[in-house]
Amino acid sequence: MAAYLSAAFMLIGAAFMLIAALGVVRFPDLFMRLHASTKSATLGVGCLMVAAALQFESLAITTRALAVVVFLFLTAPVGAHVLGRAAYFSRIPLWDGTLSDDLRGHYDASTHALAGPEAPRVPLPEEVDEEQGA
């Protein structure tokens, strides 16, 4: 029974990781690629580690496999957020079809700190460019 469960988890995990790689190649901008690689690939590795834990049926291996899963589930969102934040500040272009960008004008471009709703509006990147260009 455990062998069949393990095989099922392995196939599901591999499918998720393949879908993540497809998304990274096919999606049109960085933030969508980040979304594909972070969520789908993390779930895929989680499934593969659970499969390994089921396969070996030993407490030591199960603990290690679960440690990998817990660690990946903790670090993947942090890594994606840090990378997305860095990319946003370096003005990586969004997809042409993007309808709204709620962060626009809410970040101070020089300090990278979030300006609250009561704070004066932060100039948009193109406004800053115009000032510097003039």
Partner: protein, 93 residues
Amino acid sequence: MSTGGVTSVVFGALILAFLLAFVRLARGPSLPDRVVALDLMATLAVGFIATYAVATGQALYVDLALVLALVAFLGTVAFAHYIEKGGRSWRRI
């Protein structure tokens, strides 16, 4: 299907995913895109090692997956720090 057959299918899917991630790594177009591809490849490698542990029956490889998962995160954070604080020098990459 035997365990060997299942692991072969999983290896095939993971290798295909590696190749797709490499396409993104080569095409870019910006450094953060390449970092996303590298991060995905590290995650794929963790899954690959786990599958290899199952395929060979060597439980020791699970430890290796743990170490790689720890190191890959540091790499991504270091690249993100470089992109955010490193000025404009990376734009030529």
